[in-house]
């Protein structure tokens, strides 16, 4: 029966945990529904109209029974709820040392950016055994990055960064799909997910061309797009220095304090008036129609790379 695949391949420890949960839940489903199906059949056979049977004292209610078939399934489900919510929560907590890969989705292709600068389209190469964090942005409509072999998917939403992470541990080539309907060629927005052992991955990296890395490309953009005119320490316009801000709290004009994460930096570039830093005028222009999602990601990578040195170079 090899021509009907009945179970998808799994490429991570997490995927096996999901399979286990699904199988256990299926057992519960059978346990909760078997009494119904068996009893229906038994009663239909036993109490056919016209057939002799003892029908005296037929109950029409029984509170303890009704309470028990309400409460017992509920308690069983609560157990599964905890199990499944715990697994799900892990997707929100990537390890600190995860390798960063940026993803840009657009009608109808996937673009992946490796930290060393390699970009690939509709193909994602990752090393096995290494946590990988994906930071995703969409250029147009909502897409959804779906990697069945990892049992994960995450919507990619225009206007915000979403993320997901995994540790793939089985080398091989698997499918990538877009699972959020995104227009005409939705079903052709596919790709391959290639898990390589770390040595092969290093070799692949070195063979793929990359003159500069992401942060360096961002640095070039920072100058060519005129950001440095205001944000460099020597600039005449009063604008906050960006050195070392990544990951640290920033006080805003509104009195709020936000952490400068990817989303904050992105918003500051594209919607500069929405979160003005305390003590500064809202004079920064928007770069909304000037920069592509890839450009923004490069700039974010550059800002991230700035250490607490006091200079933006």
């Amino acid at each position: 029966m090899n021509f009907i695949p009945l179970w998808p391949p799994g490429a991570s420890a997490y995927s096996h945990q999901i399979d286990l949960l699904v199988i256990a839940f299926t057992v519960l489903v059978v346990a909760l529904s078997a009494p119904v199906f068996i009893l229906l059949l038994v009663f239909i056979v036993k109490y056919r109209r016209g057939k002799e049977a003892d029908r005296r004292h037929a109950p029409d209610r029984n509170i303890p029974l009704e309470l028990s078939w309400t409460i017992i399934p509920f308690v069983a489900l609560l157990g599964f709820y905890i199990w499944s919510t715990d697994l799900f929560a892990r997707l929100y907590h990537p390890p600190a040392d995860a390798m960063q890969i940026d993803v840009v989705a657009k009608q109808w292709m996937w673009k992946f950016q490796h930290p060393e600068g390699q970009a690939e389209i509709n193909e994602l190469h990752v090393p096995s055994g290494q946590p990988v964090k994906l930071t995703m942005a969409s250029q147009d409509v909502i897409h959804s990055l779906f990697i069945p072999a990892l049992r994960i998917k995450q919507d990619v939403v225009p206007g915000r960064y979403t993320s997901s992470w995994f540790v793939a541990d089985k080398t091989g080539t698997y499918r990538i799909a877009c699972s959020q309907y995104c227009g005409s060629n939705h079903s052709e927005m596919t790709g391959s997910f290639v898990v390589m052992n770390p040595a092969d991955y290093a070799k692949w990296l070195s063979l793929s061309s990359n003159e500069v890395n992401l942060a360096a490309e961002g640095a070039a953009l920072f100058r060519s797009r005129g950001c440095s005119g205001c944000h460099d320490p020597g600039a005449s316009v009063r604008a906050p220095s960006l050195a070392g801000i990544y990951g640290n709290p920033v006080p805003l004009q509104s009195g709020e304090i936000v952490i400068a994460d990817d989303q904050y930096i992105r918003d500051s570039i594209l919607l500069p008036q929405s979160k003005v830093v305390a003590g500064y005028q809202p004079i920064m222009p928007t770069f909304q129609n000037v920069l592509s999602e890839e450009d923004v990601m490069k700039l974010v990578a550059y800002v991230k790379s700035l250490k607490q040195a006091g200079v933006t170079q």
Binding site: L32, L40, A53, T70, L77, F88, V141, D155, G159
Partner: protein
């Protein structure tokens, strides 16, 4: 060709109508006027129920034709029958027509209209003219939609997600949204009418504790219709404004939020799934009690669970957005509430099972459809629970697994209950019996066809085939071919009743007042009922489903 439940009863029913009646009162609603005008301007709830039945059947077959195209196209991985764009338009037609012009109005507008006054001992609904108006609104919106969807086409899917629908989609999004907007008014008017009717027109003795369970479920459904539909209307207006004027409500480039749309949409559309399934639950309660010839087990629990489902149904919409980027805590809360709402649904299934215990069960078509319903509903409900489990949903969300789940619960559930209702009340509606044997065959075809069509889709989803997919990897072909084959069997089950029911209208034996030997006020009037339902105002002095008295001396 037909076997009426019990010929003795047929005789007993003759002449049971009150002797104070005039001849005019005894003329059946079908014979009170033969002209087209007497139908198109009628305010009789029974005739309006018939009008709805005809129009809903019409829209159903349009939706089904689109489904047939989709399934045929999916026979091959490359989707050779249509272009990508054509395929997208086909599933949009299918979704829009099936959801808004079949599933939502199906049982409430047909059987609700026909039965509620009969079941509570009233002459008509509270607002008969409003009732006719809501049918006109429905027809107008329906014909307009079909025109828009076939002539111009829309490729957004029935969910209209932004910013695809507002900025990128091709086709007449605004016209399609307007059609759905208009049909919403029909829903609201019908819901209001039912609520007022149940509150004010119950006959003496018809207390809330004696209401048939079908009336309870329609009452709960009407509450959702009235409270949720306006949210849909607002959402559709926002989409149209955004598309026309680029207001930026959903456009992130100018500070809008694309996820806002999903919140608004599901705030209506999740309760809407209960609009589709609650009436079915009510029908099945009636069919199970009549089929088993026993009072329903735990009447209070079953009635109360309808209201509980309607109320809780408003707090689970976020379970459609677990991978949208919503916060962990929101997802955890919605997951918990979704589990909670499943419990009252489960309760009903256990109660129906217990009802059969020590019953007098006859395997008539209505009962077989009720059993089909239970099978599909249990399966659909339990797989819904899997989707409510966060970690599982992440994998199967937006795949064929979800398609299978909601077809089991909404489509299988609604249609098996609709067919059950049709086979149960048909003798009352047209005054003739149909072939019970053919009814049984249809129920079996339906059950087999349905499972063959949709069960493989659970596997396809778990294997990773996303929904709304025109082109798919070749390894999924076998399961898709099985599914298409099943759809053919299912199609036969849809067409068969059309033949023998229409045949029965002319050649069927005249139906007695109460062919199933069931309880309920609707069985005390002639079949078909006279224009004003009852000769004299009925008075109720017994609990609902009072079967024991009739059956007590028949068998031990």
């Amino acid at each position: 060709m037909t076997d009426v439940a019990d010929p003795k009863l047929e005789e007993a029913n003759v002449g049971r109508v009150g002797s104070t009646e005039t001849v005019a009162q005894r003329v059946s609603y079908l014979r009170a006027g033969h002209s087209l005008k007497s139908w198109l301007l009628t305010t009789d709830h029974k005739r309006i129920g018939v009008l709805y039945t005809l129009s809903i059947t019409f829209f159903f077959f349009i939706g089904a034709a689109a489904a047939a195209l989709i399934r045929l196209d999916l026979l091959t991985p490359a989707g050779d029958l249509m272009t990508n764009e054509g395929y997208n338009r086909a599933f949009t037609v299918h979704g829009v027509v099936m959801v808004w012009f079949f599933l939502i109005p199906s049982i409430p507008n047909t059987f609700g209209n026909f039965l509620i006054p009969l079941m509570i001992g009233a002459k008509d609904l509270a607002f008969p003219k409003l009732n006719l108006l809501s049918w006109y609104i429905y027809m107008l919106a329906g014909l307009f939609t079909v025109f828009v969807l076939i002539a111009g086409g829309v490729d957004t899917g029935w969910t209209f997600y932004t910013p695809l629908s507002t900025m990128y989609a091709n086709g007449n999004v605004i016209l399609a949204a307007s059609a759905v907007f208009i049909v919403g008014f029909s829903s609201i008017l019908t819901g209001l009418n039912f609520i007022v009717t149940v509150h004010t027109l119950r006959c003496p003795g018809m207390t809330w504790g004696r209401l048939p369970l079908f009336v309870w479920s329609i009452y709960a459904t009407s509450l959702i219709l009235v409270l949720a539909t306006p949210v849909l209307a607002i959402t559709l207006v926002l989409i149209s404004l955004e598309r026309l004027f680029g207001l930026g409500i959903f456009n992130p480039a100018i500070g809008g939020d694309p996820l806002l749309f999903q919140h608004l949409f599901w705030f209506y559309s999740h309760p809407a799934v209960y609009i589709m399934v609650l009436p079915a639950l009510g029908v099945v309660s009636e069919l199970v009690a009549a089929g088993a010839h026993k009072p329903i087990f735990g009447y209070q629990f079953v009635a109360g669970s309808s209201i509980a489902i309607a109320a809780l149904g408003f707090f689970v919409w976020g379970h459609h957005m677990f991978v949208s980027g919503q916060s962990l805590y929101a997802s955890a809360a919605f997951s918990f509430l979704s589990i909670a709402v499943a419990i009252p649904s489960g309760v009903k299934v256990y109660n129906w099972t217990a009802t059969l215990f020590k019953g007098h069960i006859s395997l008539d078509p209505p009962f077989l459809f009720a059993m089909t319903f239970i099978g599909l509903f249990v399966f659909g409900g339990l797989t819904g629970l899997m989707l409510a489990m966060l970690a599982i949903d992440v994998h199967v969300h937006d795949t064929y697994f979800v398609i299978a789940h909601f077809h089991y619960i909404m489509v299988g559930g609604t249609i098996s209950a609709f067919f059950g209702a049709l086979h149960y009340w048909w003798p009352k509606i047209v005054g003739r019996m149909y072939s019970l044997a053919w009814g049984r065959v249809t129920a079996i075809f339906f059950f087999i066809g349905f499972n063959l069509t949709f069960f493989p889709q659970f596997l396809l989803g778990y294997l990773g085939m996303p929904r709304r997919y025109h082109v798919y990897p070749p390894e999924f072909q076998v399961l898709n071919v099985i599914s298409t084959g099943g759809a053919a069997v299912l199609g036969v089950a849809y067409v068969m009743p059309l033949i023998y029911l229409i045949y029965s209208m002319r050649y069927g034996k005249p139906a007695p007042n109460d062919p199933w030997n069931a309880t309920g006020l609707e069985w005390t009037t002639p079949s078909p009922p006279p224009k004003h339902n009852f000769g004299a105002l009925p008075v109720v002095d017994r609990p609902p489903y009072d079967y024991e008295i009739e059956m007590r001396d028949e068998h031990v």
